[in-house]
Amino acid sequence: MKVFPALTAVATAGVLAALYMVFEYAPLEADMGVVQKIFYFHLPSAWLCYLGFLIGAGASAGYLWGKGPKWDLFALSAVEVGLLFGAIVLVTGPLWARPVWGVWWKWEPRLTTMLLLIIFYAAYWVLRVYGGESEGVRRFAAALGVFGAPNIYFVNQAVKMWRGVHPDVIRGGGLAPSMWTAVWVSLAALLLVFALLLTLRYRARRDERAARLLRRRLGRIGGLS
């Protein structure tokens, strides 16, 4: 249990360092101005969202291959953390787009891919959490988790071809080296936050399962009266 205070402290320090890098170290972007500073948390969040989904897909595959219920809970927790970072992307994206592009939303390939995958894994989450507590539902969810991984590629490909004529705006090719440094620092910091949240979530899910099993056992031997 001592690992949590330590991890929390390191993650907090990392986030503070990232904030320093973003607001003090990185120069002000010439065209977009101060609002471009959203980017330093927006882009790593998008990567971590995918990381969460990919871990979810991997753990789901592990569960389907008979690795036991912990893998199912780990997949669920990873998807939940992925969805959190996805929500961050979806909130910060439009806030950035509005002053820069003049619109809240664009059917830009990366945004569209992200949105579709978030919807898909949100459906996974709804199924897994509200679908009932049977083995069949857990396996259904795990299959969905695995099915989602190749879909990252296909959705991205299709959407890119669909919007192929549009210029590449988000990556903004000419990012100064010091800006990239800020991106890497905030990625490292958010990675720590990711790890912390995933461990917390997984522990909560695991203990909930333990409680459920214990309650069932007590119910059987008549200890719940």
Binding site: E24, M32, K37, L84, R98
Partner: protein, 99 residues
């Protein structure tokens, strides 16, 4: 106690995000110049600051909301587990070991 702590953290985060955002013009005074020269650019600058503020505020809110909910679940589960274990021990003390 934890509730108060989390609320304090949240408030701190919300306070820190705009505070950090407001520090930026000092290191880059070009924004201020633009605000004087053009009203249109000025209002756009205002929107940029507001949106930056909102974005970092939203990140804090989302992350702390997540931590807060996870924390509460964990606390409820811990309480329940403790209760169930106590019942189990009581039962086994009466009937002998269960398994």
């Amino acid at each position: 106690m934890r509730r108060i702590l989390a609320a304090a953290l949240l408030a701190g985060g919300l306070w820190a995000a705009p505070a950090a955002a407001q520090e930026t013009p000092a290191s880059a005074p070009s924004g201020a110049v633009e605000q004087v020269t053009s009203f249109a650019a000025g209002s756009n600058e205002g929107m940029k600051y507001r949106h930056l503020w909102l974005a970092y505020g939203a990140i804090w809110l989302l992350v702390f909301g997540f931590v807060w909910r996870t924390w509460r679940r964990q606390r409820d589960t811990d309480t329940e587990l403790e209760d169930l274990r106590r019942r189990l021990v009581a039962l086994e003390g009466r009937d002998g070991p269960g398994d």
